[in-house]
Amino acid sequence: MVGARSEAAGERIAARRPAQSFLSTVLCVRGTRTRFFSGFAGREGQGFALQINSGVCGGLFLVGRGFVLLVLAAGFVLLPARAGAQLKSNVASVNLNATLNTSITITATPGLVNFTLVRSGVATGTSPVTITTTWTLTTLLGSVAEYAYFSSSAAALTDGASDNIPSASVSGSVDRGAYTAFTGTSPFAAGSGITLFNQFVFLIFPANRSDTLNLQISTAGLNLPAGTYTGVLHIQAQAN
C-alpha cells in the first residue's frame, strides 16, 4: 500500500483502525497544505472508521492494490525506452518534379455541319458548333485568341469539279452575335477566318470557356451548279 504521508496526524474520529482498507485515494499538489480523508472499511461486523488528516502534501496519494500493480507495469514499460540508445535510419529521399506544361486544347462538336443550299440565297447550318477551349499557361499576363478559318479563301467548300464556295460566302455568328464573313486575317490563314474570341489572361490558373458558332452559306452571285460541296473549317487558338 502506498500510504498518504503527512506531517501531522489529524483529528481522530474512530479509535480503532479497521483491519482492511478498500479505498483511499487522495491527490494533492506537492508542497501544499491540504486536508484529506481516508476511509476504511473493516471486515464484516467491524464497522468503519473515518480519519481526517491535514498537512503538507508529500506526494501522490494512491491507495489500492490493483492500482499499484498498474503503476509498476507502466514503469517497466516506460523505463527501457528511456534508458535505451536511439537508433536512426539513413534518410531516403524522393525527388519530386512537377511540370506544368503550357497547353491549349480545343474540342468542337459536332464534327459535321450540313447545309441545304438554295439556288441563290442564304442557308444556315443544321446545328451550331460548340467549341470548348481549355488552356494552361505559364505566363502571368497574356492573351488567348481563337480563330475559325478555312485553309483557302477561294475555295472554302468545293464540289471537286472546280466549282467552289469562297470563304467570303461563308459567315459565322459567335455566341449569337452578328454574322461575319470568313474574310478576316488570323495567324493561321490570311483573309479566310474570323476571330472567335480574344481573351486577356492574368496569372497562370488553368481556364476554359465554351463558345457557339453558327454558320451560314450564301450562294448569291455564285451561280453554283447543283451538287454537294464539302469543306473543312479549322478551329485553332494562339496564346501570346
Binding site: I104, F115, L137, L140, P225, L233, I235
Partner: protein, 182 residues
C-alpha cells in the same frame, strides 16, 4: 513605415515577375480542331409568271391584244450533267379559251410575241402533249455560269377572232408556262 516598405517590396517583386513573364513568353498554338462542312444544292427549275390574269377586249372579227404582257422569270440550278433548258408556253388542248357553252377560241387563234419578236401562234409542239404551244426560251447548259442562273422573258398575247364567228360572251382559258432541263 515598415508596412510601406513591405508593400513596395511586394509590388517590386510582382513587377519583376511580370516583366520576366512578359519577356520570356512565346506564342503557343493549340492543335487545330476541324469541322467538316457539307453543303448540298439540289437541282431545281422554277418559273414565276405575272400577272395572274390577262384580259382581252375582243372584237367581232380581228385581233385583240392582252392588256398586259405575260412576264416569265425562269430560275434554275442544274447538275453538271445537264445540257439544255427550255421554257414552253402552251395550252392543254386545242381549245385555248371557251365560254363553257361550246364556243371556243382555238389555239391557232392565239399568238404570242416573245421578247418583242414577231408574234407566232400557239401551234408548236411541246413535251407536254399536242401542238398547242411555243418555245419561250432555250438555253444551252454546260458553259460556266449556265448551270445556275435565271432569265426573264415577256410574251405579248393577241387573239384573232377573224373567222371564228364567236357569240358575244366571256371566254376564259389557261396558258401554261413550264420549263424542262435535259
Amino acid at each position: 513605415m515598415n508596412a510601406i516598405k513591405k508593400a513596395w517590396l511586394v509590388l517590386g517583386a510582382f513587377g519583376l515577375a511580370l516583366a520576366m513573364s512578359l519577356a520570356s513568353q512565346a506564342q503557343v498554338n493549340s492543335g487545330a480542331s476541324t469541322i467538316n462542312l457539307s453543303a448540298t444544292l439540289g437541282e431545281s427549275v422554277s418559273v414565276v409568271t405575272g400577272p395572274a390574269s390577262i384580259t382581252f377586249p375582243l372584237v367581232p372579227s380581228g385581233t385583240a391584244a392582252g392588256n398586259n404582257p405575260a412576264t416569265i422569270t425562269t430560275s434554275w440550278a442544274l447538275a453538271k450533267t445537264r445540257t439544255s433548258l427550255k421554257v414552253y408556253a402552251y395550252f392543254a388542248s386545242a381549245n385555248a379559251l371557251t365560254d363553257g357553252a361550246g364556243d371556243n377560241i382555238p389555239n391557232t387563234a392565239v399568238s404570242g410575241a416573245v421578247d418583242g419578236a414577231a408574234a407566232a401562234p400557239f401551234t408548236g409542239a411541246t413535251p407536254y402533249g399536242g401542238a398547242f404551244g411555243m418555245t419561250v426560251f432555250s438555253q444551252a447548259i454546260g458553259a460556266a455560269g449556265t448551270f445556275n442562273s435565271s432569265h426573264a422573258d415577256t410574251i405579248a398575247l393577241t387573239i384573232n377572232t377573224t373567222g371564228l364567228g364567236l357569240p358575244a360572251n366571256t371566254y376564259t382559258g389557261v396558258l401554261n408556262i413550264q420549263a424542262q432541263a435535259l
